[in-house]
């Protein structure tokens, strides 16, 4: 075995273990089943409505209903799954002492964290793919058009979740239980979605000339520049109002992927910084 292959195999073994264990968590399975039920239910509802209505306008309403429910469900349950699994992966291992048996082996803390984070991403991706696939099929059956826009949306949603996951994971590395990181994860998601409003604050500040007004403006500008803007990843309105096979508009997908990766690396480095000398 070469040193390089050892560096990769350790984290990969941890990632697979994390994925296998995570996919068996009841709460996670519950979220997934609920989300799939909602997506399935939206289709049933639309099918029922289409039997009682006629005409092109009503058919559009049915499709919009499916889109609306499915996008919301993927967003809500997807982020809940992401937060829950990112918040609990490390504290659970400290609680059941698995971490002691792993870190007493020739595994560096960075490798351990990388393996856990990789395992979390496998879980998030698989859940997103499952939910997205059902939505994709439903939309295709309804419109007979390949909903390629949905694929772009799911790709960007993943990078949105990646940011939330990385920072939740960082908090979980400093915590002894999953409760605080779960709350922190929800907070990160909310703040990330409200960052857009900071732009308004910046625009309106400085009009009175008062120091407080100036200070608020500067703080808002700083926060806007530092905090991730999760709204950037949302294609919801385009999915709702455009044709399913339209290309994404007003977004630079490669830039957004880079943006997501950059924040995820920052979150992961924070996790390592907290964890590298943590007393277990």
């Amino acid at each position: 075995m070469t040193a390089r292959s050892g560096l990769i195999r350790g984290p990969w073994a941890i990632a697979v273990y994390t994925w296998r264990e995570g996919m068996r968590k009841r709460i996670l399975i519950g979220f997934l089943i609920l989300s799939l039920l909602f997506i399935f239910g939206a289709n049933l509802m639309a099918a029922f409505m289409s039997q009682s209505t006629v005409g092109e306008v009503e058919a559009d309403v049915d499709v919009k209903l499916i889109k609306d429910i499915c996008v919301t469900v993927i967003s809500i349950f997807g982020v809940l799954i992401t937060i829950f699994i990112s918040a609990s992966a490390v504290p659970t291992e400290v609680e059941n002492k698995v971490i002691y048996t792993v870190l007493s082996k020739p595994v560096r803390r960075l490798q351990y964290l990388f393996g856990k984070f990789l395992g979390i991403q496998l879980i998030v991706i698989i859940n997103l793919v499952l939910m997205g696939a059902l939505f994709f099929i439903a939309l295709y059956v309804k419109t007979r058009i390949l909903p390629t826009l949905l694929l772009w949306s799911i790709l960007l949603t993943y990078f949105e979740f990646l940011i939330v996951s990385a920072f939740t994971f960082a908090v979980s590395c400093a915590s002894t239980s999953a409760v605080l990181p779960t709350i922190a994860g929800l907070f990160i998601y909310l703040v990330g979605n409200l960052t857009e409003y900071l732009k308004d604050v910046v625009r309106r500040s400085g009009q009175t000339g008062m120091w407080l007004d100036e200070a608020i403006g500067k703080t808002a500008r700083f926060l806007y520049q530092v905090l991730p803007n999760l709204q950037n990843f949302s294609l919801k309105s385009q999915i709702l109002y455009q044709a399913p096979n339209d290309p994404p508009q007003d977004v630079q997908v490669p830039n957004l992927i880079l943006y997501g990766l950059l924040y995820a690396v920052c979150g992961f480095l924070m996790a390592y910084w907290v964890f590298r000398r943590k007393e277990l």
Partner: protein
């Protein structure tokens, strides 16, 4: 023999949230574990045993002092960890995995793959007597079987040093004996074992040397033969009644045990044997046997910890 583990003034202070809340968990521990020996690390709860083990594994870091494993101070390095096997107390192994899958996971962490990994898994399963149960899910394992799988994961890399935290706690007598036999066999293969346990009889039966900790301070350290000396004598007497025993025990002789109509009297080393025998004769007790009596590890433990506690309380 070369030392495989050495601690030099190893000290650990857990910092409290507020000033004055710091806890001294380990105070200048100096021990040395030799190659091929079993070292019993004893102490009541909260005495610093787990803190020491965690420092040996690099899970927590010393406040002062240092430790060496196989002559190296950089104990966190993979090159050092490769030589260590660790069994934590009450560790969890995922229910959804089979015994051999658990071992595959831990083997992969050592970089073992392919036929080498398979060979090591088969070898350790054989060592811990779990070959037949290797395909069963962990959820169907008894406590003893889980402990054996735990031991197997600690052995997967064929380590030079084994650190075991409560290896026999909660096991039935047969499982204990089996684990004890495995540990003895490992010693015969030249492995060094560092065992932390509350099961004093087990430790006494298997250890070469023991150290007793109390409130972070090492109270005593030595070989079993050095520490458990034949301090007292025992006299087995027949025809004992409470009245007769009262006459003898008044002189400092203690009635210890009652076996099939006979009573074992313990004569402390400070008392004269002939004086004790005279008293038995006077009390019309029939002396069946007289034998030297070796202190048990449990008695030593209680005495050492009791003395340390008294010393700490100070004269009142």
């Amino acid at each position: 023999m070369a030392a495989v583990i050495e601690t030099h003034d190893l000290t650990k202070v857990y910092e409290g949230a507020w000033k004055g809340q710091d806890v001294l968990a380990l105070n200048k521990l100096n021990i040395s574990i030799e190659e091929g020996e079993i070292f019993g690390f004893l102490g009541p709860n909260g005495s610093g045993k787990t803190t020491t083990i965690k420092m040996l594994l690099g899970l927590i870091f010393p406040t002062s002092g240092h430790l060496e494993i196989l002559g190296r101070k950089d104990i966190g390095k993979p090159a050092v960890r490769e030589k260590i096997g660790y069994l934590p107390e009450g560790a969890y192994y995922p229910d959804f995995l089979k015994g051999e899958e658990v071992l595959r996971f831990y083997g992969q962490l050592y970089g073992l793959t392919g036929s080498e990994l398979k060979r090591r898994i088969a070898q350790v399963l054989e060592t811990v007597g779990m070959t037949r149960a290797r395909k069963r899910l962990i959820r169907g394992y008894s406590k003893g079987m889980r402990q054996r799988i735990g031991l197997a994961q600690a052995l997967i890399n064929d380590p030079q040093i084994l650190i075991l935290d409560e290896p026999t706690t909660g096991l039935d007598p047969i499982a204990r004996k089996e684990i004890r036999d495995i540990l003895a066999e490992l010693r015969s293969r030249g492995k060094s074992l560092f065992i932390s346990s509350h099961e004093l009889l087990e430790v006494e039966l298997i250890s070469d040397r023991v150290g007793i900790l109390f409130e972070g301070n090492l109270q005593t350290l030595g070989t079993i033969d050095e520490l458990l000396t034949e301090r007292d004598l025992s006299i087995r007497v027949a025809d004992a009644t409470p009245e007769k025993l009262k006459e003898v025990t008044a002189a400092g002789v203690a009635a210890e045990d009652s076996v099939r109509g006979t009573v074992v009297l313990r004569v402390p080393s400070a008392l004269d044997l002939f004086d004790a025998l005279e008293r038995c004769k006077a009390a019309q007790l029939k002396v069946v046997s007289v034998a030297p009596r070796r202190e048990t590890l449990e008695e030593l433990f209680v005495r050492v910890v009791g003395d340390a506690a008294k010393q700490q309380e100070g004269p009142k």
